[in-house]
Every structure is written in structure tokens, then in C-alpha cells.
Amino acid sequence: VSRTDLHETLSAVADAVVVPPPDRLGVERRVRRARRRRAVGGALVAAAVVAAAVLAWPRGEAPAPVSPVGGESVPVVVGGELGLVSPGGSLERTGLRLQRVVGVGKDGVVGIGPDGDLVEAQVGDDGLGEVRTLADGPVRDAAASTYGSAVAWVDEDRTLHLPGATETGFRGDLLATDGDDWLVWRDGRVVLERPKSGRQSVLLSGERAVSAAILGPFVALGEADGRRLSVDADTGEVLSVHRGPVGALGFWWTDGATYVVAAEGGARTLWRCAPGCREVYRDPTGTLTIPGQE
């Protein structure tokens, strides 16, 4: 396929298209609607679905105590669509198609769109989703920091993109980042990479880990048996362990709690653990995923 082939084909298609007459009324209708919206004070007031500002210093579950933060919604993907699970346990669908949700960014929910593009989605008052592209072209993998201040992704050429830096020849699955360092699943282990600070990589005891996060000086690991581990980022020493729902498929760490998705028969359940776990939502379709979950 050459550039000439493309030019020739696109021109042939354009020539073959039957052009309808100009729909002046249709355009005028849209102009009137837009002016009405402006007149009442607001085209679309886009609001970040989850306020990233709520996420203060992530203390994790250990060794520091957890302070529960109420009022937060959990971004999820159910049936290929972005939804929000409220603290009360109801699911609000947004209509936005996503392959998976990566995390919460500065202005909205970061996810991988239907075409593999990395996007950040807001939800407006009228239910439409304003979406901006964070990375051109399909991405292989992506992660957002717990604070929402940094997003990292791996492109199709296996280049890892971090704020202000790139690393070529990336190998493994990207699990998490804090903007400077990142966690990667490689050769059956979770590895903490820290080239920016010049510190050595740390091999972590994460053979059974399904999710991970960098929480300041700690690394959090979530395992399939429901255990949540706090690990010293410098030594790899396990500092504390909490139990949770078995059959865990994914973990998402926020300031106030850790959310866990578990498989239960053909269904999936979403749990809020702080540090004790309670079920907040049951997804009968068995497709629910949370940030960071494949």
C-alpha cells in the first residue's frame, strides 16, 4: 500500500459518494440550540467525575492508619462502558465506550478507548462525555498515579512515556507509576524501576500479584487470594498483610480505601476495604473492571 494508492482510493471513494443537498435547516436548528444553551448559562459544564484533589497523601493501609474518605465514586468499566459506582452501591452508566479504565487523572477518568487510544473522559451535565486524547495512536498499556498527577503509557513500539521522559525497549506489563518510578510485571515478578532517581531496581515478592501501586515510600501489592501487602520500596520487605475477598481480579488504591474486584461464579463483586472489606456492588454481567485491572 503506497501513498499514491491511498490518494487514488480516497479520491475514488469521494467521487463515488452521492452528496445530499445542503441541509440549511438542519444547520440553523443546531445554531439555535447552541445559542439557547449559551443563553441559559452553560453549554456543557464539564466536571471531573472523581475529584483528583480528594486524593491527598496516600497512606495506604500500613503502616500508617487509614482515614476513610466518604463521597467518592469508583470509575469502572461494565460491558465496555464507563460507569461510576456510588458509595451507596448504585451504578451510573455514562455511555462512554472504554476498553478499560486506567485511573483518575487531573481532569477526569483516564482510560483506553475503543480504538486503543489513551483518553481522559469527563462527564457533562447532559450525559455526554467530553473526551480528550492523551496519547496519539494505540497504546499497549497504561497506568495512572494514585494522586492522578501522572499518567504513563507504553506505545506500540514498546516505548514507555512518562511525564517529561521516555524509555525505549520496554519489556513486561506496566502495573503502576507515580510519575517518576514505575512497577512492571516481568518474568513472573513485580519489579520497581527507579532510573530517574538513579536508584537500583527492586525485585518484589509479587509472584501472585494481580495489581500494584506506588504509595510514596511503600509499594502496595494485591494478590489473587485477596491479600493486600504493604512492601518497603527500598528493601522489598513485607511490612503488613491484610486479608480480603478471595478470587480477586484487581485492586485499586485510593487515599481512603482499597477497592477490590472479585469473581464469584459468573458474577463479579466490588469491595471497599478500609481495612475491613464490605461488598458495595455486584455485577451480574461478570464484566466489571476497576482502574489498573486488565
Partner: protein, 161 residues
């Protein structure tokens, strides 16, 4: 020379802009909706557009932005006896080789498809699509590179007649 009114502009440029919209969306209804939306935005800014000769670019920019930055709430499904899909050619009378390549272009992600259309249908330089898509020239190069790689992988033996 008096500057054209918006109505004059729309009457004169509807057909070529519709063709571009069709290439961007791949379907007649989506193309018309996209073009109407972009023209409505242009109409609202018409008086402030100093260079009316650049209005085509403004409409294209509105179309590509709309296409790549917003997903609409899925429409409710309506049961019908008619089959709406007129086949993968979209009802167009095209040669088989053109049809095969067009089918693959339609499968490209929106931003990538927009880059291909602007570069190889509108014959814009690398800098112009970058301006219209609101991205860097490097992004245009990258999108074009990935698009060509995908198309070549999908149609390794394609040779136009």
C-alpha cells in the same frame, strides 16, 4: 470584493466538505451529522473569521475535533425488518481493489483515519494536519506511519490496477 456570507459559503462548499466528512466517518448519515455540527460551529464564528478563504480549514478542524474528542451516548436500538447495512462498501460503486483498501481505512481509529484523509485526500502538508488536529508534526508523522503499517499488514499483496 465583498466577503461571502455564511449561506453562500455553505452552498458553495457543502459538496466537497461532505465528501471529506464521508471519508472521516465512513457513512452517509454520520457524515451529514458531522458536517452539520461543524457548519453550525462555523456559522457562530463566521463574523469573527477574518480570512473567509480559510473557512474550509475551520470546518475540517471542527469535524476532526468532534470526531476524535466526543463519544455520544449510544442510541436506543430499534427493531426493523430492513437491513440497514448495505454491505462493507457502504453502497458505493467502486473497483474491488479500491474497495478492499477503503474497507481497511474505515477500520483505522478516528484520529489515524483523519490524519490519512487530510494527508492523502486533502493533500495537506504534515504541518497543516497538525494544525487542524491540534497536535504536533511528530504526531502526524507517527499516525501516518502507524496507519500505513496497519494497512500494509492487512493487505500485504494489494496492488492497484
Amino acid at each position: 470584493v465583498t466577503a461571502p456570507t455564511f449561506a453562500e459559503f455553505m452552498a458553495a462548499r457543502w459538496a466537497p466538505l461532505y465528501r471529506t466528512a464521508y471519508l472521516l466517518t465512513g457513512g452517509p448519515h454520520e457524515a451529514e451529522e458531522l458536517l452539520q455540527s461543524a457548519l453550525a460551529k462555523t456559522c457562530q464564528r463566521w463574523e469573527s473569521l477574518r480570512d473567509k478563504g480559510a473557512a474550509d480549514a475551520y470546518v475540517r478542524r471542527a469535524m476532526t475535533h468532534e470526531l476524535t474528542s466526543r463519544w455520544r451516548r449510544p442510541r436506543r436500538e430499534v427493531t426493523t425488518d430492513e437491513v440497514p447495512d448495505r454491505g462493507h462498501d457502504g453502497g458505493l460503486a467502486l473497483r474491488a481493489d479500491h474497495l478492499a483498501l477503503w474497507a481497511e481505512v474505515r477500520r483505522l481509529p478516528p484520529r489515524m483515519r483523519a490524519t490519512v484523509v487530510l494527508r492523502y485526500f486533502e493533500d495537506l502538508t504534515e504541518a497543516q494536519p497538525a494544525q487542524e488536529l491540534g497536535c504536533s508534526i511528530g504526531s502526524v508523522k507517527s499516525q501516518t506511519h502507524h496507519a500505513l503499517r496497519r494497512l500494509r499488514a492487512a493487505l500485504p499483496d494489494l496492488e492497484l490496477l
